[in-house]
């Protein structure tokens, strides 16, 4: 709570007209301190990077060309995002839900009564952290794919170039995956503010993340499969990773990410409105 106490001391000791740091800066500083010092978050961030790269490496390792030359090598090398996104959601939920459990939220809102500033500060901090983790995870995954895939038949002889960020669609998939993680984290933050209870927030986010796509994958109704792939946040958002057979996608890469962005915006707005309307 160093940030809070410094700003408190300064407010008490200095005249009211003295120049102060903008509220958003102190709030971001406070949120960053909370995130940095709460136990487990460092481990969660490390686990996210390790898990993402490990699963991506596994996927690159087990898919081989003479058997399945139809593979989308870029998307394949980013398979780990499927698991990494859960850690991002966990980080975002951990920014707010435990505050409700422990009563910390009352302190936070006493220090920063403006709900919009508090929520924006949390969003900024979680975005920065998730972007950093996402960039490391995505680059690591792509590097693993670039090193491994040529040994498994994805060579020029079969029409595959080594993964490279100089390749337009691969760059779009890589940058889009980082944006995807960012949007997933913000969606989780919005839902966590709205739902308060961490277990409920985690259940809803993971349900959106894993159960809905699963229903699309197994569904025996092509119509429903198409609808789920087109309009649910995670399925539509992940279309940003596709670099082959784009015509077969239920929704094109950028519009797909747009669908996720719309869900995220809705969740944040609902979270903000509930935050304003309800007592802490």
């Amino acid at each position: 709570m160093t940030a809070l106490s410094t700003s408190g001391r300064r407010a008490a000791g200095a005249p009211l007209t003295a120049p102060r740091r903008p509220q958003i800066v102190t709030s971001v500083h406070a949120e960053w301190t909370k995130l940095r010092t709460s136990p487990g978050n460092v481990w969660l961030a490390l686990a996210a990077v390790v898990l993402t790269i490990a699963v991506s490496t596994l996927a690159s390792e087990v898919v081989k060309c003479p058997a399945t030359c139809g593979a989308d090598t870029t998307k394949l090398s980013l398979t780990g995002i499927l698991l990494g996104q859960a850690a991002m959601a966990g980080l975002a939920i951990g920014m707010i839900s435990p505050e409700y459990s422990t009563g910390m939220i009352k302190v936070t809102l006493a220090a920063m009564p403006r709900r919009s500033v508090m929520l924006t500060a949390k969003a900024i901090v979680v975005s920065a952290v998730v972007a950093a983790i996402g960039i490391v995870s995505v680059l690591g995954s792509l590097l693993a794919g670039r090193l491994i895939q040529p040994h498994h038949g994805f060579t020029a002889a079969h029409g595959f170039a080594a993964l490279s960020l100089a390749h337009g669609p691969t760059l779009r998939a890589a940058a889009g995956s980082v944006l995807y993680l960012l949007l997933v984290a913000l969606l989780s933050l919005g839902l966590a503010v709205a739902l308060r209870e961490p277990a409920v927030a985690a259940t809803v986010v993971l349900g959106l993340m894993y159960v809905l796509p699963l229903l699309a994958l197994v569904s025996l109704s092509r119509v429903w499969q198409h609808r789920i792939e087109r309009w649910t946040p995670m399925e539509a958002g992940l279309s940003i990773q596709a670099t082959r057979n784009l015509a077969k996608l239920a929704i094109a890469p950028w519009p797909g990410l747009g669908v996720l962005a719309a869900w995220t915006a809705a969740a944040l707005i609902i979270g903000y409105l509930l935050l304003r309307l309800r007592d802490a």
Partner: protein, 548 residues
Amino acid sequence: MTTTTVTPYRSAQSAGRDGFWSVLRAEWTKFRTLRGWLLAALVAAALMAVLPVYLAAAAHGGSVESCTATGCQIEGSSVAVGPGGVAVLDSFYLVHQSLSGNGSITAKVTAPTGMGLLPKPKPGSPILPKTQPWAKAGIIIKTSTAAGSAYAAVMLTGSHGVRMQYDYTHDVAGPGGKAAPLWLRLTRSGPSLTGYESADGTHWTKIGTATLPDLPATVQGGMFVASPAAQVVNESFGGGDNMGVFPTAATAAFSHLRLAGGWSAAAWTGSRIGGAIVSPDSPPVARPGGHSLVHVCKTCGGTVPEGYRQTPAGFDVEGSGDIAPFVPIVDAVQVSLDGILFGLIAMISLGALYITAEYRRGMIRTTLAASPHRSRVLAAKAIVIGLVCFAAGLIGAAIAFPILEDKLQAGGWTGPAWPHWSLTSGIGLQVVIGTAAIVGLSGILALAAGVITRRSSGAVAAVIGLVIVPLILGIVLPPRVADVILAITPAAAFSLQRALPRYTQVSNACAPYHGCFPLAPWTGLAVMCAWAVLGLGLASYLLRRRDA
């Protein structure tokens, strides 16, 4: 631990066994009286009842297996009803004559050799073995030439050695260790048929005996060749997959033919058994050179050779099709039951909250002060949450199953392969009780994860990661990796929801998302039980070690 110093007289009364019952009662009371928890369980049960029905109603029969531009769905058109009402494939080429009364047939047979994939697949498709693993060449005695009639046969297969098979579902492996070509013999004595194999035609080894009670006095016997359709899945890991079913054919040479007993001594006749081999089909075209046919598949642009040719030593026979039980690729019951997953994650979060809420509010200190035997508290909690989750799953699945069965039947999942299973049939009970067991054990896992992590979001994420995420990884990773993941994680228990039977003598390009799991149903449940026991063990250890 101040209680012991205050009550020194307690020792006169033994706490005894009812100590556990009072803990159990206390834990049940805690669950029952918490506002909204029973309601949440009821809502979860309702979700588990409604969503599977909805998924079943949206599933259209035949939408998955059909004739596409890359391959013809040939199985659906030739499914027959075998002995006991089982759906079977009975489609092959037979060179036969009739046998009255007892007798035997002996022949030296080469292993069936595949004639490649017909038609040729597109470039980039997976390379398949030229000979199908379950291509069959051998001798057979069969009630009649009608598809689905009772039979017994000894045969060489593409890569599964010598087998004796009878009445479609029975499969006995030969002793093995001998290289093809092999001598095969089939002897009929009343209703029993005995198969033998030999490396030299003089020393015979019995493979097995089949008893076919309804075998008439006069039967058909002879040489046959069959080669099952190849199911080709072009997996593109991201671009979706497309599946084609391609007819294949195999050839084998028969020599040293010896008949004993009441054979008709007429000339051998070549017959195609079963319906059309390719669909849509055109009438078979005669090939130059005698008793040979060619089936033309117009839409796939390929031809399937069948027929026989007399050689100096005996016969060369070409055939296509299969003699085996028919199992559809997609298990519509299993796939529909994935609708329970939303209810399942709700119960998982309830299971985690059951303990993490106590940690958060400090109630855990009261609980452990009231009953200092921590493992006993954990056991009571596991029983309560396990039973509540089991009950929610049971109610949901028992309501859903009969309705989803009706919906599937109405949606075209009919025919011999899709009997109407009632709730009280063996399959109905397995599916419903299995679903309840999956929910119950997931609740217990969530409780254990809650004790271990003491954070509800972490516990929920861990259990969803163990129970549901493997199902997704099973789809995005290749089948052999998927099989490992789905055999070692608690998700193995979802094999309990499979309604269709499984046979080792049928190769099926069936993936987990079609309803095929690597483990047998009750083995899968055992894996999940092992996880629950391990989880509770670790939770109990940590609960005793740590301060509350």
